[in-house]
Symmetry: C2
Subunit: 99 residues, 2 copies
């Protein structure tokens, strides 16, 4: 199981309709891609980091993650929405530690 | 509910006994602090970010988070283990988005 996350900041004004539209579209379109589980949108609230939002999703394995990455719906979202509307982002992927 | 996370890199060699000892001590000591729920250790595996580990824990509310931050067991861990053994870290805290 792999948890794929991204912490990011938008080019939009906080609280603006454009911000809400971006988050809702992402949730609707990305959660519908095959293999995506537990898609969530969170606010990032630590003042020690600049990011203001987080997307998180879970994949059963690496093959499911790769299929999502290559899926036309994901590619279209990245090109049409993510690239022009995201100012900065950091990706983190997590797997369980069995220690 | 607040999810408190930190992505970090240790000064220890990957796979070393010192690395394992740090992770186990953190899990044992921090998970035992009052108010801490769902303490987990994950490997960070995205090649797009340098961090190699993540701790995650959940607090019921801001008061529980603040109590953890001020707790002597947490303060002692930060001074005795975190400060000398962590090379780099980024904190992120997440709350649900109700959009």
């Amino acid at each position: 199981m792999i948890q794929h996350t991204v912490v990011f900041t938008l080019v939009h004004e906080p609280g603006s309709p454009a911000e809400t539209a971006f988050l809702r579209t992402a949730r609707d379109e990305l959660a519908a891609v095959p293999g995506v589980r537990d898609f969530t949108v969170h606010r990032q609230v630590s003042v020690k980091s600049p990011g203001t939002w987080q997307f998180s999703m879970v994949f059963a394995d690496r093959a499911a993650y790769d299929a999502y990455d290559a899926h036309p719906a994901h590619r279209a979202f990245v090109a049409d929405r993510w690239a022009p509307e995201v100012a900065e982002f950091h990706e983190y992927d997590f797997v369980a530690w069995d220690g």
